[in-house]
């Protein structure tokens, strides 16, 4: 038996098929993963993401600490509530975790990190925090629901107070705002517009039910995975880990090189790698035949071998797509070692889908 979110009984009552996900009992689907995928692309679906770890940061050194801890630079956050995606690296430049950090104003920040990496993340942050005047507070009593899709924001606005609806209406993309005990964030992991709503665990079942009544479809983590893969968004532990640098994980854009005076954990290793040129890159693969690319399959290019890090059937496109780490100079076409034979695939730039449309 794994950990359970406050919505566990609700998932079971709705017919959710429960699987282990990083030590948590979570719904993989409520009947059809593909139907749930299409609902998010076309209208609005919601995911219980209460298993994710929320950590609040305060203290006079909090900005200085995050500028040291993260490869991206929180100095970019000029408007309260604005969010930043970043890798948290080790000294070798490997990715300990990827996370979102919100600047809540003054010395206050909120971080959302992955559930499977919770313990090592907290341990790492606490170790790195020595010498900084900061306080890290985990928020296990907060639940989180991701409501995603072209109709998601309007649906959420229809079930909250007028004041909260106004707050949501004024959110920029990648911005969050605290409202009482809740926080509304215009973020997500699907490539669609939508919100991630943080609510007290005692309120989340009623909030979820209100959204169901408003026509938002409960969706499982299976659809969340196909949506994020189409959107070219990395999954920690599959597409990158502590042995992979952001430069080899399509996360180069999350490294803030300027100002040069900012020393962050992993910087020296990344500069070295940048100078010598990364050996690998993370790209998209497309297979238009009746077969499905799967993680760990070998990729054969003219310049050497690589590996699929995430592969799936793309419900939006109707064929299989994958993310793969391949030699940095490889392009055009390559082969994938499938179950019974090698198949020819196309190398493309990520993402595959944005706002419901093919973009590669």
């Amino acid at each position: 038996m794994g950990n359970k979110t406050p919505l566990y009984e609700t998932h079971v009552a709705c017919g959710g098929k429960i699987v282990d996900f990083g030590g948590w009992d979570m719904p993989i689907h409520y009947g059809s993963q593909i139907e749930e995928h299409h609902i998010v692309r076309k209208s609005a679906g919601m995911f219980d993401v209460s298993h994710m770890t929320i950590v609040d940061l305060s203290g006079v050194d909090s900005k200085k600490f995050l500028q040291y801890l993260l490869a991206n630079d929180v100095d970019k956050l000029k408007t309260p509530g604005k969010a930043l995606y970043s890798g948290m690296l080790n000294a070798e430049g490997g990715v300990i975790d990827d996370l979102i950090v919100y600047w809540l104003g003054d010395e206050s920040y909120r971080l959302v990190v992955n559930c499977a990496t919770r313990e090592k993340d907290l341990a790492w942050m606490n170790t790195q925090a020595s010498g900084f005047n900061v306080k890290l507070t985990e928020q296990p009593k907060l639940a989180m629901v991701a409501v995603q899709g072209p109709e998601a924001i309007e649906k959420v606005r229809s079930v909250v107070s007028t004041a909260d609806a106004d707050i949501i209406g004024n959110l920029q993309v990648f911005q969050g705002k605290v409202a009482g005990e809740r926080m509304y964030c215009r973020t997500g992991y699907t490539g669609e517009d939508g919100l991630e709503v943080i609510v007290p665990d005692t309120e989340v079942v009623a909030f979820w039910q209100a959204l169901v009544d408003a026509g938002v479809a409960p969706c499982g983590l299976g659809a969340r995975d196909t949506l994020r893969l189409e959107a070219g968004m990395n999954l920690y532990g599959s597409d990158m880990d502590e042995t992979i640098s952001p430069l080899e994980a399509n996360m180069g854009w999350t490294i803030a090189w300027q100002p040069e005076s900012r020393d962050f954990v992993g910087r020296a290793a990344l500069e070295q790698q940048k100078k010598s040129g990364p050996k690998f890159k993370l790209v998209g693969l497309v297979l238009r035949e009746k077969a499905i690319l799967r993680s760990h399959q070998k990729v054969i290019t003219a310049l050497g071998d690589g590996e699929i890090t995430s592969g799936t059937f793309s419900p939006t496109l109707g064929f299989s797509v994958a993310m793969a780490r391949i030699p940095a100079a490889a392009e055009g076409r390559c082969q994938v070692e499938m179950r019974k034979k090698n198949m020819d695939v196309e190398i493309v730039l990520l993402p595959f889908v944005r706002k419901g449309k093919q973009v590669f």
């Binding site: 593909i34 077969a291 499905i292 799936t312």
Partner: protein, 132 residues
């Protein structure tokens, strides 16, 4: 609990066989199998006219979760395949014992039927697998 119709015969690898009135055999995968696989997205079927032996790989079913070989429970000539699965593989999930059938064969050796599992035997095999 998955459905296991009592009038069908089974393989422990989750294929079912129905003996039709004309003596031919229709083959598909069980409700339990489609539940394990999740949404089916491609089904590869044998060619009509192909001669297959009991135990041979007769096709592949690919779902969002995994690829799985389909084994023929019986020997014989393939006389029909379910062409609807090309456009609508989700029939395997929606109706595994009827509209989601895979292929039909003209049985060449009826003694092979004796080796197949009854519904009760198959239910036991599934339970044993889950306990594993």
């Amino acid at each position: 609990m998955s459905q296991i119709p009592s009038e069908l015969k089974y393989l422990s690898s989750h294929e079912w066989v129905r003996i039709e009135e004309d003596g031919t055999a229709t083959i598909g995968i069980t409700d339990h199998a489609q539940d394990l696989l999740g949404d089916v997205v491609f089904v590869d079927l044998p060619d009509v006219g192909a001669e297959i032996n009991a135990g041979d790989e007769a096709g592949v079913v690919e779902s969002v979760k995994a690829a799985s070989d389909i084994f023929s429970p019986l020997s014989g000539e393939v006389i029909a395949i379910n062409e609807a699965l090309e456009e609508s593989p989700e029939l395997v999930n929606a109706d595994p014992y009827n509209d989601g059938w895979f292929f039909r064969i003209k049985i060449s050796d009826t003694s092979e039927l004796e080796a197949l599992l009854s519904a009760d035997d198959y239910a036991e095999a599934c339970e044993a697998e889950e306990d594993h």
